[in-house]
Each structure stands twice: as structure tokens, then as C-alpha cells.
């Protein structure tokens, strides 16, 4: 067996062969690199997805549902306003196949508050093909309309503003319009914040305590019903930081179901704007339950101003001796006006007696001795000359005397001739009892350690003295019906006649009681005001003060103030100054 080994002939161009092999190797390497790159790319992608993409996915989804408009909650987190997915009922007119008259009749049966003609008009006329038949529809109504089987009717889900507490704190929380913008209260004041992408996920926390608010509304409603008053207002402030714990204005409204205002027809000129249409800002409080009387209505609050004037006189160095007596035997006649006391004692009175018996004459004499400048300065420090520093947009400007004459100085000292809102008075009483510091009021819950832009109005010693005097008014004076045993209430009545054409209406009274408790270490200020109580006894001692007593007895333990029969502010040094105490 022979083996022939043929020697391969050398290629003609060995150099070309080498090049081909090199080229093949190069291509293989290229493919290899390509594969390696793909594998590396995939591996890298996997790593990327494992490390970074997961968090991106979580971010993009978000597990916490963000409402279209931020929630509003009270100081303990109880919801006051919330977005919920609600139903609307709309119609596409070109897709309606049934008899429109019959459909309108069926809709009227489901929604009796709207007429059949109203629905027929919506189903037939109008330029747009699409129209709302109903907004904020209840699920059972939606089911009833769906059962009609009309394909032209749709049920879009829309975010709906719900106020779970109904009419409670309606003026403070406010409400929104059809476009989802705030119209009143906190909804209006913080409209941008509630709608902003960055902040709408965080609830807006108010300082208001819903339990206190409910108790105040309940007691005030009973008081108004008992007295037949036209309206009422009440506010509870934290005396040491200006937080609004409760704010009530009566009559009130339900923000979930807004009733149209009962305005006179034709519209009187004083309600018309420049275009002849209704100007919402000109609607008086008497005509609108949406008016927040705590901040929008101006009142001459009467004798409740006396402690403020006396405190200003103490700081001005005019009242240095409380035992000094002033002539209150006769009405005081100044510039042709006759200043008299409602409960004239016909004798000389000292300062504690003047406050306890609410003497206009003595207060006017002290103001006259003090002069206009110290009184003006004190009132200006309390912002009685301007709109209150406050978040709510609907704030009334005050009525500040144009000319501060001698007689004006005297009448203003006991709360006549100057009109402020009840909130002004509440903040002023906070300064009067808390050691003399005026704190700007706020509806938002203050953060611990928050810096407050406060200012000193009264000295510490004056504030301490006023605490004694206010307590004496409740123990022995006109405010006896505000006493809540164990809670150390102090306060001052104020019964002022309402201004009318050509003077004051003697039968129309604004009865106010301004209180603070506990007076040995004041924590809360309570202002209750009734507008025109109609029963026989109309003064604050019979109308507002009992409401304060009931309210404090009911609410003080909730606020951490417990009754202590054995604790009180020491008034023993001043009691002998009262005629009855001698």
C-alpha cells in the first residue's frame, strides 16, 4: 500500500492567502466583539434595571394617592375637606335615541328639585352637543338614570369636594366653585397651596379643634334660639400664640349643598357693581348666611373695650391708684353730648368698681385724663385702625374715627364710635391677659418653636392687674352669669346699641361677652357676640355670658383645663375696694 503524498503546490500568491486568513480572523474577532458587546450591553442593562430603574418605577407610580386639591384637616387630623371621586351625569345630544320629552319627565322624577322643562331644555337646545344634566350626583341617582337605558347619557367620574362635617366650621373652611377654586375661608385663602403639585399631597392643617368647634356651635345655636337673635358670632383663641381654635358665625350654611342667596328682586342699587350686576362684596351680612361675622362684620362692641382703655391708662401712668375715685353721680355732658351709665349707681366710683359695674362715665373721665395719644397708640397696636393681620381674605376694614376730638376720645374708650370685628377684640383680649403680648391670629396650627411676630402692647404688671379685675367682674360684677365653677373665668360684658339713621337704635343691641380662662394662667380667650337678641333682657349678662359659661364647662377639659375648686387668682387685695366688699 503505497501512500502518495502530494505536496500541495504552493499558492501562486501566498501573500494574498495570508491576507485572506487575517481578514477571516479579523471578521471572526469582529463578530466575537459584537457578541461580547451585546452580552455586555444586556448585562449592563440588567444591572441598570436592577439598581436604578426600580426606584424610578416606584417614583413614577407613587403609592400615595395625590388628590386634585389638597385635604384640609383640623389640629388633630380630622378631615374637614376632601376630594372624592364623584359622579356627574351628562348627555351627548346626537346619541339620544329615545323620546326627549319622555326622558325629561323621567329625569324630573329622579331629581324632583329640577323641573321637567329644565331637563328638556338641556336635552334639546344649546349650541354644544355635550351638556351636564347633573353634577355631584349620588350613586343611587346615577343607578336610577342608568336604568333608563338611554345610550346618549354618560356618567363621567369627577373629583368632588366633600365637607364631611357639613355645616360645621363652614365659614372657616369655606367652599370651592365649579372650577375647583376656593371662594371662601381657608379654601380661598390657601387656594394656590391646595392646588400646587408640590403641596397638594400634604393636608393643610388648621388650628381649629373640631370638638371645640362643635361644642361652640351647639351652645351658640341654643343661645340664639333662646334669645331670638338675628345672628351671632363666636371665636376661641389660644391666648399665648394666636391660634384660632374655633370660629362660629350664625346663621350658617352647608358647603356640600349651597343654596342660592335670597336677594331682593329687583336688585337694590347698593348691591350693584359698576356694571349694574350683583357685586358679591357688597352683600351685607344680614342678607347672606355665607358672611363670616367674626371677620366680615363690624360692630361697636361697647363696654368690652373698657378693660383695654383702663389698661392703656395704667400703662400711661394715669391710673396709679386703684382706690382713687371718680365722680359718677351725674351724667357727664361734653360737647353737647350726654354720657351716662346704664346701671347708674349715683356715687363716686373707683377703678375696680367702674369695671365691675361697667361705668361709662368713669371710663370716659379716665380717658379724658389720659388724652388721645396713649389710647390711640394702644388701639393702633391692637390693629383697631386697620384690617386684621389674618389669613382669610374676607376681612372687613374697621371704622376708625376720622377726627379724634375730646368727646370721641371719651366715647371710644368705652367702645362707642369705633367699630371692629369680633376677631379684633379676641386678639386684644389675648394681649390683655397673656402678659401684654399681642400675637397675630392664625387659622393654621403653629409648629412647635415657631417664631411669632408678636409685639408688646401692655406691660406685664398691667396684664396681671387686669386679670384680677376681669376675674372680679365675673365674681362680683356684670359677668356673674359667665362663671363656670372651677374654671376660673374672667371677662367683661359689652352691650352696645346698634347705629341707625340719626343716632343709635335703643332696641337693637349687640351683646358681647369677652372672656378668658383660667385666669390664674390664661390659656384661651372666648368671645361670644349676639346680634339683636329679641327677648326681654337683652344685655350681654343675660344673653352672651350664659353661653360662655356653658361652653367653658363643656369644653375646658378637652382643652386640658380641669376644674379646680381650690385654685384661683388672688383678688383679695382688690375685693375690699368694691363697695359691696367692704
Amino acid at each position: 500500500m503505497a501512500t502518495i503524498i502530494a505536496r500541495p503546490e504552493p499558492c501562486a500568491g501566498s501573500k494574498e492567502q495570508v491576507n485572506l486568513i487575517t481578514m477571516a480572523h479579523g471578521r471572526i474577532m469582529l463578530v466575537l466583539l459584537l457578541f461580547v458587546a451585546v452580552v455586555l450591553g444586556m448585562a449592563g442593562r440588567m444591572v441598570w434595571m436592577g439598581v436604578a430603574a426600580g426606584s424610578r418605577v416606584e417614583r413614577s407610580v407613587g403609592t400615595i394617592p395625590v388628590p386634585h386639591r389638597g385635604d384640609i384637616v383640623d389640629r388633630n387630623g380630622v378631615p374637614l375637606a376632601r376630594d372624592i371621586p364623584g359622579y356627574a351625569i351628562s348627555v351627548r345630544k346626537d346619541r339620544v335615541i329615545g323620546d326627549r320629552r319622555e326622558l325629561a319627565r323621567s329625569l324630573h322624577r329622579i331629581f324632583p328639585d329640577q323641573s321637567e322643562e329644565h331637563f328638556y331644555k338641556l336635552l334639546t337646545t344649546g349650541k354644544a352637543n355635550w351638556a351636564y344634566l347633573r353634577t355631584r350626583a349620588l350613586p343611587r341617582d346615577v343607578a336610577a338614570v342608568n336604568a333608563l337605558g338611554e345610550p346618549g347619557i354618560e356618567f363621567p367620574r369627577e373629583p368632588e369636594r366633600l365637607y364631611p362635617q357639613r355645616a360645621l366650621a363652614a365659614h372657616l373652611v369655606g367652599f370651592t366653585d365649579r372650577d375647583g377654586h376656593g371662594v371662601l375661608g381657608a379654601e380661598r385663602a390657601f387656594d394656590e397651596q391646595l392646588l400646587a403639585d408640590q403641596s397638594r399631597g400634604t393636608p393643610l392643617q388648621l388650628a381649629m379643634d373640631v370638638r371645640v368647634q362643635a361644642a361652640l356651635e351647639d351652645e351658640l345655636t341654643r343661645g340664639v334660639a333662646a334669645q331670638g337673635a338675628k345672628g351671632a358670632a363666636a371665636v376661641v383663641l389660644d391666648a399665648n400664640n394666636g391660634e384660632v381654635i374655633a370660629m362660629v358665625s350664625l346663621p350658617t350654611f352647608n358647603p356640600n349643598h349651597l343654596e342660592p342667596l335670597a336677594l331682593p328682586d329687583p336688585l337694590p342699587p347698593e348691591l350693584q357693581g359698576a356694571d349694574g350686576k350683583l357685586d358679591p362684596n357688597k352683600i351685607p351680612c344680614e342678607m347672606s348666611p355665607r358672611c363670616n361675622r367674626v371677620v366680615q362684620a363690624l360692630y361697636e362692641l361697647g363696654s368690652a373695650f373698657k378693660p383695654l382703655s383702663i389698661a392703656a391708662a395704667m400703662d400711661a401712668g394715669v391710673v396709679t391708684n386703684l382706690a382713687k375715685t371718680y365722680d359718677a353721680t351725674q351724667p357727664l355732658v361734653v360737647a353737647g353730648r350726654r354720657l351716662r351709665d346704664d346701671h347708674a349707681l349715683g356715687r363716686w366710683l373707683n377703678v375696680p368698681e367702674a369695671l365691675v359695674h361697667s361705668s361709662n362715665i368713669v371710663t370716659a373721665r379716665i380717658a379724658d385724663e389720659m388724652g388721645p395719644v396713649p389710647l390711640q397708640n394702644a388701639y393702633r397696636s391692637l390693629e383697631f385702625h386697620q384690617r386684621m393681620t389674618f389669613e382669610l381674605r374676607e376681612r372687613a376694614n374697621t371704622l376708625w374715627p376720622r377726627e379724634w376730638s375730646r368727646i370721641v376720645n371719651m366715647t371710644v374708650s368705652y367702645g362707642h364710635g369705633i367699630a371692629v370685628t369680633p376677631l379684633h377684640l379676641a386678639a386684644a383680649y389675648g394681649a390683655l391677659v397673656n402678659g401684654g403680648m399681642w400675637h397675630p391670629t392664625t387659622i393654621l396650627k403653629r409648629k412647635p418653636g415657631e417664631q411669632i411676630a408678636s409685639r408688646r402692647v401692655f406691660t406685664e404688671a398691667t396684664s396681671a392687674r387686669m386679670r384680677q379685675l376681669l376675674r372680679m367682674i365675673v365674681l362680683s360684677g356684670t359677668g356673674r352669669s359667665a362663671e363656670a365653677p372651677g374654671y376660673r373665668v374672667g371677662g367683661k360684658t359689652g352691650s352696645a346699641e346698634k347705629p341707625s339713621a340719626g343716632g343709635y337704635a335703643r332696641r337693637s343691641i349687640v351683646a358681647t361677652f369677652a372672656a378668658a380662662f383660667p385666669m390664674d394662667s390664661p390659656r384661651y380667650v372666648v368671645i361670644v357676640m349676639m346680634d339683636e337678641p329679641q327677648r326681654f333682657a337683652r344685655t350681654a349678662a343675660y344673653t352672651s355670658a350664659p353661653v360662655v359659661s356653658q361652653f367653658i364647662t363643656r369644653v375646658a377639659p378637652l382643652l386640658g383645663v380641669f376644674p379646680e375648686a381650690n385654685r384661683d387668682i388672688d383678688t383679695s387685695a382688690l375685693m375690699p375696694l368694691l363697695h359691696e366688699g367692704r
Binding site: 394617592p65 366633600l162 365653677p485 375648686a565 381650690n566 387668682i569
Partner: protein
Amino acid sequence: MIAIKRLQSIMWLLVIAVGALSAYLINLRVATERNAVHDMLVQIRQTRSQIRYLEAEFGARANMLQLASWNNQDLGLRVAAPSQYLSSERELARLDGIEPAAPTVAAPPVMTAMADAAPAEQPAAPAPKAAAGGVHASDFALIRSASAAEPPVAARPRTERLVDVAAAAPAPRRAAAAPDPAARRAARLAMLDARLLGDSAEAAAGRESRRSDRAN
């Protein structure tokens, strides 16, 4: 050899293909997990939305006005009276319902004095409610009523317990009437114990109390 070499390249190809496939499978797995996580997040979000909705519904159904209405109609719950609040364990211990034999004594009133308002020599006014309602019984009355329930032979251990109570509680300013002999013995023991413990305030109160006993 050539075949092996060719097979080797195919093997490489296969290895790479398998590698790529497995990488793709892992990628698919990751994508699946990611979708599952996404679905879970959406589900959590929807559940939270439902919780929000239900909270709103509960809040609306049980709003404060509704609760007040139910209370007025059915429950009839009322605010606790000031006398129902107790400030200390001592007052709690007095809720035994046993009428004190001696007239009651008010605990010393706490009066918040003003820095420059009340002169030092002014006596503190008595608390308006404390003495009137018979709510605050004196220590002597408590001791008397407790020891009276025990037979005389068993008085000693009982007295020791009462001594502790008397030593822990602030002493009254003065006793209004003389207690019975058993209570006086117990009270004296309490004062003696307080003095031995070196509490000057208690001892002073004990002396004051004994003086008032003698006066009566």
C-alpha cells in the same frame, strides 16, 4: 482536526447563544418582576384611594353634628360636672362614700398672687367651693371613719397603713373639730412618724394640728 476546529467554533457560537439567551431570559424575568411590582404599586394606590373614600364616608356619616343629634335623641350623655373631676389620688381615696363625722376642712387654697399686686400681709381668701359642699373631708375624718370599721385589737396594722397615707398627703391647715380618741392616736402616730423622718414641713403641720386639737 479540522472538524474539531469547526466544531469548536460552533461550540463557541452555541455558548454565546446560550449565554445571550440566558441573559435575555433574566432580562425577561426582571421585566416580569418589575411589572409585578408596578401592578402591586398600582394596587396599593387603589386600595389607599378606597381607604380615603371610606374614611370620607365614615367621616360624613359620623360627623360631629350627627353625633350630637344621636346624643340628644338617644344616648343623653352629658358633660361631667366639675365635682366629678379628681385632682389627685388622695381625692380618689376619699370617694368611699362614708360621711365624715367632723366638719370638713378645705385643703389650703392655691391663689395665684400677682408680683406687685397683693400685699404680703393680705390673708389668702378661702376657696369658694371647698368648704361648702362637704367634698373635701379632713384627714382626721378619713382616719376616724377608716379606723372605726376595725375592731380595737386589729387597729395596729390598720394604723400603720393610715400613717403612710397621712405622711404622704399634705397636712391640713387646721382641724375644725376634735376627732374621736382613736383617730387622735392615729394622727399623733402619723405626726410622730413624720417628725422622725425629718420632714420639717410635715412636723410643723403636725404641731399645728395638735395645737388645734388641744384648743378644741
